[in-house]
């Protein structure tokens, strides 16, 4: 699977996320409080709101529409109305850039 250059590491504040679109897909790219980077599908599994407008709380991303929560490291749905897990994608950091392995 190809690795796609998504953004620079300093494009995302710690404990925050940005949206990254590639082709017909939309992703959410996260910068954890520990300085690690993660990527998930960009839309909430409940009603497909863009997660980029949500709030990162530690390792959780909260959907801006109904406050459903996911662990963005694993994609696990942690709070209703989110019930279906988020798809996650492998991430690597090289030379200050964040790459996502797009399926």
């Amino acid at each position: 699977m190809p690795w796609i250059d998504a953004c620079a590491t300093d494009d995302i504040d710690e404990e925050d996320l940005i949206r990254f679109d590639h082709g017909s897909q939309t992703f959410a790219v996260y910068h954890s409080p520990e300085g690690e980077f993660f990527a998930t599908a960009g839309l909430c599994t409940h009603e497909e709101a863009h997660l980029c407008n949500g709030l990162v709380i530690g390792h959780l991303i909260e959907c801006p529409k109904h406050n459903g929560q996911f662990d963005y490291r694993t994609g696990e749905a942690k709070r209703t109305p989110a019930c279906v897990n988020l798809k996650t994608f492998p991430v690597k950091v090289e030379a200050g850039r964040v790459f996502i392995e797009v399926a």
Binding site: D16, H46, E47, N53, G54, L55, I57, E62, P64, K65, H66, N67, Q69, R79, T80, P81, C83
Partner: protein, 363 residues
């Protein structure tokens, strides 16, 4: 147009889905990401303070009421206790249901469960109904939390100031939930994975109410019911008063919260009881902002919103005549002017469902 069909199985609900109204993008005022992140930040402090004050006052007021019982001197204490039980519980249910009041999840969940019991709502059902209310606010047939359907039944509105309609609806549904799970209507918005939870929560609520009733019979006194159950009626007036103002007399079937929601400036006591939900346009546009940050959000986006009503009375002066006009013409609604600094109401943001005629708005 013909009469609105508010059934989730009705023609209006079906049409809203078929025409894409339910999947449409809602209007949002632009707020810079860093500002919004700051507004959305969670903390436990304000809600712990308010919860200690709320439950402390309830214990004190009920204690004095019991001590003075059955003297008439106890009445003012019961009336105050009732408002905290039968009205403040509505806003606690709401904010903790969103998960924004506290930063700590178990605190949100604990207050949510207690508040759900007091306000007589099945906590498993209403969490989902409120999600739908936010996705499809005042879309006819889709939003299960439309407080006043058109044409308004004003007698029922008045009766509900004493909780009569809500309580009469609550007990048959909670008993049915306890016996067989969610109703067919509830199954349209509660996922199957939560149907068992709907039933178990209902059993807990029925058991507590039955215990209070049994104690009252054993004591030969309504005193236990003055503490549990009845305050949902004698203290309901405040949450009905403020709740009607949220959307009453405004547009339906639109996708711009500036058209279907109302912000009302209020006195500090009502804002404590209502937990700042008087900033209702702001809350619907940005439901992740905690109640204690809504005044700040209001200051930031107010230039893009209709001017707020200046008081509860001012809100009623706008809403009640609209209800009366809807008795004769259910398509009537109040369309507020936007300030010159606001982005205009975009026609494509409040397209009516094809097949419906356009409603007539106030000048």
């Amino acid at each position: 147009m013909g009469k609105r069909d508010y059934s989730p199985f009705g023609a209006d609900a079906k049409r809203a889905v078929e025409t894409g109204l339910t999947a449409a993008e809602w209007y949002h005022t632009e707020v810079p990401r860093k500002v919004m992140k700051d507004l959305m930040a969670r903390s436990d402090g304000p809600a712990i303070r308010d919860t200690v004050v709320l439950y402390g006052c309830m214990i004190l007021l009920a204690g004095i009421g019991i001590a003075l019982w059955p003297l008439g001197w106890s009445a003012p204490f019961w009336l105050a206790y009732g408002v905290l039980y039968g009205s403040a519980s509505d806003s606690r249910w709401h904010e903790c249901g969103h998960g924004t009041a506290f930063r700590t999840p178990w605190m949100n969940n604990s207050v949510y469960q207690i508040a759900s019991f007091m306000i007589m709502r099945n906590p498993a059902t209403w969490r989902w109904s409120h999600a739908r209310h936010h996705s499809e606010t005042y879309l006819v047939g889709r939003d299960p939390e439309i407080a006043v359907m058109r044409p308004p039944e004003l007698a029922k509105v008045v009766l509900n100031f004493f909780g009569i309609i809500d309580v009469l609806r609550f007990f048959p549904v909670i008993l049915r939930n306890a016996l067989s799970g969610p109703t067919p209507e509830e199954k349209t918005f509660v996922p199957e994975s939560d149907w068992g939870r709907v039933q178990s929560m209902a059993i807990v609520h029925v058991a507590i109410h039955a215990a209070a009733l049994a104690l009252a019979v054993w004591m030969g006194s309504i005193l236990p019911l003055m503490v549990i159950g009845l305050p949902r009626m004698y203290g309901a007036w405040h949450h009905v008063m403020t709740g009607l103002l949220q959307h009453g007399g405004l547009a339906d079937n639109v996708i711009d919260h500036r058209l279907n929601s109302r912000t009302v400036l209020m006195n500090p006591i009502s804002r404590f009881i209502y937990w700042n939900m008087n900033y209702h346009v702001e809350h619907h546009m940005f439901p992740m902002v905690p109640y204690h940050a809504l005044p700040r959000l209001h200051e930031i986006i107010k230039d893009d919103l209709p001017p707020p009503n200046r008081s509860i009375a001012d809100g009623f002066r706008e809403m009640w005549p609209a209800f009366r006009r809807q008795l004769l013409n259910e398509d009537f609604f109040v369309k507020r002017d936007l300030p010159p600094t606001a982005k205009p109401y975009r026609e494509d943001f409040h397209q009516y469902v094809p097949g419906m005629s356009r409603p007539s708005a106030a000048e």
